[in-house]
Symmetry: C2
Subunit: 259 residues, 2 copies
DNA sequence: CAGTGGTCTAGACCACTCA
DNA sequence: GAGTGGTCTAGACCACTGT
């Protein structure tokens, strides 16, 4: 039999996906459990393997399920990660920090933070960074790449840029954890206290590289955030490009309208 | 011939996608142009139709291409929409407003705004709304559904909830455009001046319904935003659930860290 | 009517995992 | 080596669009 059937939008695949979604939400499958294989699903629902596969892809896009090549599909754990947009940079938050704002957030959410400094190098600023730092493109900056984990699950990547005129020769230019004082503590020592921020937010599907690094399937939505740290006089001195998986993350801002 | 070939991650589909992407970016195809059909692409690249299709799906996910059933695939226009997170609610912005914050944003970006009030009804608050408004679930609220267009392109959907105790019997409870004074003007008349806001942001793939309403393919990332409007005393009086396509939209916040 | 996207079937080979 | 996901081929019928 070649195909046919009542038809309708993706009806077969959607039905299978819905059944699986229900089974997961009802507790029939718990976090970490293995789902039936594509071939088994196809047989169960009298569908082609392609159709069963399409159904599972839907769940993957929603971040519910994670494929493991050669092993099977597994139900994901879904720790919601909350990023406190303004709060994380406030004075009291900075005071208690050990891993910086991320560490404070993690503790507030009962999770164990770990920050990995992947690299720190001196490079010329590209247009995106230069514009936000208010410097000429090509001017030297320190580029620090950090990976952030909560309970050992990769939550976000942050790439910080600081003008070399500020960070050059300091610990900020070295690829090591900055310890108790963190990035913002160090900057404060240098006379740059964060008093205003600007955050620009977009979202788009994960690239292949992000997917591999953060251990998630390609196509899952990612949140991108350009953070600019500024002094009370609104002089920018630090820019960070954050990248986090959307299905795990939420951003939370509270702020006055006029100030 | 059944299949085989060098293999590699999606190599065939990715190659076709890359070729098309280049052709679009190089100007070989311009906004509005029709791409070669799936069947033509398959023949051109000596691939199966499924594979050509997978390639195009990739471009659709990126928001580069739009399918039209029975007609073909067309290159999208990509107007970037900027949402000014805090600025849009400031006093000066409210003063010049005709279509509310959205109208001000649109004019700032050289676009023509249009707001469509889809409905206004009295309903009991669900948990999400009640929590943010600081009321008991089940308490009556006005639900206003607005659709926002810029140059006639649907940009976002906003569903506003206001306690019935505030909006009952006023123009806010009627399904009509609120005119020059807009929502926030009316609320100010009632003694509720927006002075603080909270915004919670997430992103996830578009549902089927959103996709249809906003004229986009399912699976494209969407930005979701819970906005809460509060008085100077931080009493919440209005909650709006915004939903916008991520490939068109960016959010821009600037704020003081301590206040 | 021919052409296009949307969906589905059936079956192949590859790479990976695990007993 | 059996089983699983990952990718691809080949070809079918549907619904929609245009001529």
């Amino acid at each position: 039999m070649p195909d046919q059937r009542p038809h309708g939008d993706n009806a077969e695949a959607r039905a299978i996906a819905a059944a699986l979604r229900d089974a997961i939400h009802s507790g029939e499958f718990n976090a970490g459990d293995k789902l039936p294989s594509e071939r088994v699903l196809a047989a169960t629902y009298h569908a082609a393997r392609n159709t069963a596969r399409a159904a599972i892809q839907e769940l993957i896009q929603e971040g519910l399920v994670k494929p493991e090549h050669g092993r099977g599909y597994f139900v994901r754990e879904r720790p919601r990660w909350m990023r406190f947009g303004r709060l994380r940079y406030t004075t009291p938050m900075r005071a208690v920090t050990r891993h910086g704002p991320f560490g404070a957030e993690a503790r507030a959410q009962g999770k164990t933070p770990r920050v990995e400094v992947r690299s720190a190098e001196r490079i010329p600023a590209d247009a995106d960074v230069a514009e936000r730092l208010g410097i000429e493109p090509g001017t030297d900056v320190v580029r620090r790449e950090n990976w952030y984990y909560a309970d050992e699950i990769p939550m976000q990547i942050g790439i910080t840029y600081i003008p070399w005129s500020i960070a050059g020769g300091t610990a900020l230019a070295k690829a090591e954890n900055l310890g108790p004082r963190s990035l913002y503590g160090r900057l404060e020592d240098l006379g740059y206290t964060i008093a205003n921020i600007r955050e620009e937010i977009t979202a788009r599907p994960a690239t292949r590289e992000e997917a591999e690094g953060l251990d998630l399937p390609p196509g899952v939505p990612m949140i991108h955030l350009w953070h600019t740290g500024m002094t009370a006089e609104k002089q920018p001195f630090e820019v960070t490009n954050f990248c986090m998986r959307a299905d795990y993350s939420a951003l939370d801002y509270d702020m006055p309208v006029d100030y």
